[in-house]
Amino acid sequence: MNHKMLKTISCGVLPLMTLAIVASTATGAEYYLRAEAFTKNLPDPSGVGTIPVPMWGFALDDSFEGLELQAVSVPGPRLTVPAGDTTLTIHLDNNLSVPISIMIPGQITTKTPVFFTDGQGRQRVHSFTHETLAGNGTMVDYTWTGLEPGTYLYLSGTHPAVQVQMGLYGGVTIDAAAGEAYAGVTYDAEVMLLYSEIDPALHAAVDDGSYGTTGPTSTVDYNPKYFLINGEPYTSATLPMSAGAVGNRVLLRFLNAGLQTHAPNLLGMYMSVIAEDGNVYNFPKGQYSLTLPAGQTKDAIVTPSADGAYPLIDRRSDVTNAGGFSLGGMVRFLEVAP
């Protein structure tokens, strides 16, 4: 059987793919991101209807404070640095009412943390890197040079306990070469799997201003009710994700923007786990289970020998929508074509 060596990128429901506005400079990628509040409709646990949950997220713009045509999403738009390139610049427009910032964990850039002084005169960090103030009139840049191939998260480095879980995160990928994730690691198809959680009560408190005042004063009681892959919980309406064809080398990019460890288990097939946080292992690991701690990314290759829909289930039982009848939450089916 002949297979088309397609490079299919499957990212679930995202308004924009990498086909969209990427202004590639000679030295890398450049993006205009806008941070904004929005409302996301999540399934009611009864299985009927939806519940609106206030969120923060990123949108992809084509310029700073231009037409702002693109919608905000969680996760934010996927950023792609052209294969072999090493530079990424993000121009940030902050339409939220608090300062934010952007970090890519594991990738180096100059950081100038922002501190404040607490009631006892002790210095505490507010942002791990320089901030973009609320409603900034001039764009603030975040630049990385010397980026290494890999799968990464980008997320806010400001008041991280609150801002990341509100939705300020997304994925970044850089390939070593076309169709080659790392040197010598080729792939024919790709599946992006970004895990995250939502605690609706905490979102409501942040949104209505009671967080830090009359409501919770820390996130210690974080208690997520929704569990997302690529921004959506599983429902009976969720379509399978295209995962190449029989005989393909399919790259599974796992990212965890949540605050808790997740444990994807793949049924019917073994994975070869090859890297974490963009660092290739000395030896790949043959497993059907994966541990995905908070903030980590992992890359795995599967080479299906049979077509079909392979279930990928979070074995931490984060497979309901706010306690409703499962399956929900962190479940997907990887569809391999014949």
Binding site: S289, V319, G323
Partner: protein, 442 residues
């Protein structure tokens, strides 16, 4: 076992606890009464992991009660062996590599049930109705039979669990272990087709946990009140039992729905295989006291480099993180080497024990132990710091360490998990016994 008893008495006479107020050696008197576990002597020395052998099995999803270590009855769902009693965990299926395995599922529970087999490839399912992940048996009191089939092509440690309404049914107890024997077995007592996986004793550690509130609501049919996003476990199990029940014999009559135990035992110099299965939804840091273990396989695959053979990527650790859904195979060894004192309490002229570390032979105990009044004695302490020996114990103590072995807790190091619903001690804990040579171990 007359010869063995003589050996034990000889060991006993050799010991002398160096107490501050007792300066002479003491004779020993071993309690003749042995616990039922130690008296069992199975004819087949390999069959310490209890389970069902063969290639065709019938599993009935049924409900019943298990006993928590605190004595509370917990309403539970489990797989039964055909018409037998519901059990938790489900029957351990011990099969041979290359065999086609057929499992018939019948369902006596109030909602549909199915079975999935992580780590198995090419699983087919026929009968029943199409479910979320695979064919399901409806809640029709056993009228429908679903047939699952797969070839157990690779040896190792696996598990099976419900594939329907997973968050609830896994919590309720629908999980069990699968062991695939390599083609080398039983000629070679190996877990995989390589000597790196050779063992003298093998034990199963199927780790699970329970949120009692969910079981209570299920017992009273309050299905719509169950919210598994508020997970609050209060019971932790190894092979379906809480400590101290883990140390009771398998098949204990008053634990009719919890047939499996967990009491690992070995002699110095032997290799003990741990088959650890993350059967629940939580991570558990499993800490075997006594020595590091060598992890040789995960998810039923030897840790092997692409060009290597055997477990050439095996590594040593003192705590094994058990991850949900993952299986780990590890080898534990102990000889007491390099302690700097003779762990048997020998005089320099005494004969060597098997695997004894020669440079420490005859070296004296390094400190003066406090007197009896200054110490609190452990329930399984023999009274002597030496292996195979017994010593002075206060009145009322003793009798639980018949052979003078060294006992080590093997337990979850998230210590809130070694509790039975607010009562310390319990939960995910058992005891390794390093028995002196000559002690029978089934």
């Amino acid at each position: 076992m007359g010869g063995n008893e003589n050996n034990q008495e000889a060991h006993g006479l050799l010991e002398y606890g160096i107490m501050r107020t007792h300066l002479h050696s003491r004779g020993t008197q071993f309690a003749v009464a042995v616990t039922a576990a130690l008296a069992l002597f199975a004819a087949d020395a390999y069959a310490v992991i209890d389970g069902l052998t063969g290639s065709t099995f019938t599993l009935s999803a049924n409900d019943g009660y298990v006993l928590g270590g605190d004595g509370l009855s917990i309403y539970t769902w489990g797989f039964a062996n055909d018409t037998g009693p519901m059990q938790y965990p489900g029957p351990t299926l011990i099969v041979n590599q290359g065999t086609v395995i057929t499992i018939f599922l019948k369902n006596y529970l109030p909602e549909p049930v199915s079975i999935v087999f992580p780590g198995q490839e090419g699983v087919t399912a026929t009968g029943g109705v199409a479910g979320q992940l695979t064919q399901e048996a409806p809640a029709d009191n056993g009228a429908t039979t679903v047939e699952y089939q797969f070839q157990a092509s690779e040896p190792g440690t696996y598990h099976y669990h419900s594939g329907t309404h997973m968050d609830l049914q896994l919590e309720m107890g629908l999980v069990g272990a699968i062991i695939v024997r390599p083609t080398e077995f039983p000629v070679d007592q190996w877990a995989y087709n390589h000597a790196d996986s050779a063992y003298d004793h093998e034990y199963l550690f199927l780790l699970t946990e329970m949120d009692y509130d969910v079981h209570l609501m299920a017992e009273f049919g309050l299905w719509d009140q169950i919210d598994t996003t508020t997970f609050h476990p209060v019971y932790w199990f190894i092979n379906g039992r809480n400590f101290p029940d883990t140390t009771l014999p398998s098949g204990t009559p008053w634990l009719p729905n919890q047939p499996y135990n967990c009491l690992p035992r070995m002699h110095p110099g032997e290799r003990l295989l741990l088959r650890i299965i993350g059967g629940g939804r939580d991570l558990h840091p499993f800490h075997p006291h006594g020595n590091n273990t060598t992890v040789i396989a995960k998810d039923a695959r030897l840790l092997q480099s692409p060009l290597g053979t055997g477990a050439d990527l095996a590594y040593s650790d003192y705590t094994i993180a058990s991850l949900p859904g993952q299986t780990v195979d590890a080898i534990f060894e102990w000889t007491g080497a390099q302690l700097g004192w003779d762990v048997y309490g020998h005089a320099p002229g005494d004969p060597m024990e098997p695997f004894e570390y020669a440079p420490d032979h005859g070296k004296p105990f390094p400190v003066i132990l406090p007197g009896q009044q200054e110490l609190t004695f452990g329930g399984v302490y023999s009274g002597s710091p030496f292996l195979g020996a017994a010593g002075d114990l206060p009145p009322g103590e003793g009798g639980l360490n018949v052979y003078g072995g060294f006992m080590y807790p093997w337990h979850s190091h998230a210590e809130n998990e070694i509790v039975n619903n607010d009562i310390f001690i319990g939960g995910m804990l058992s005891l390794l016994i390093i028995e002196p040579h000559g002690t029978p171990i089934p």
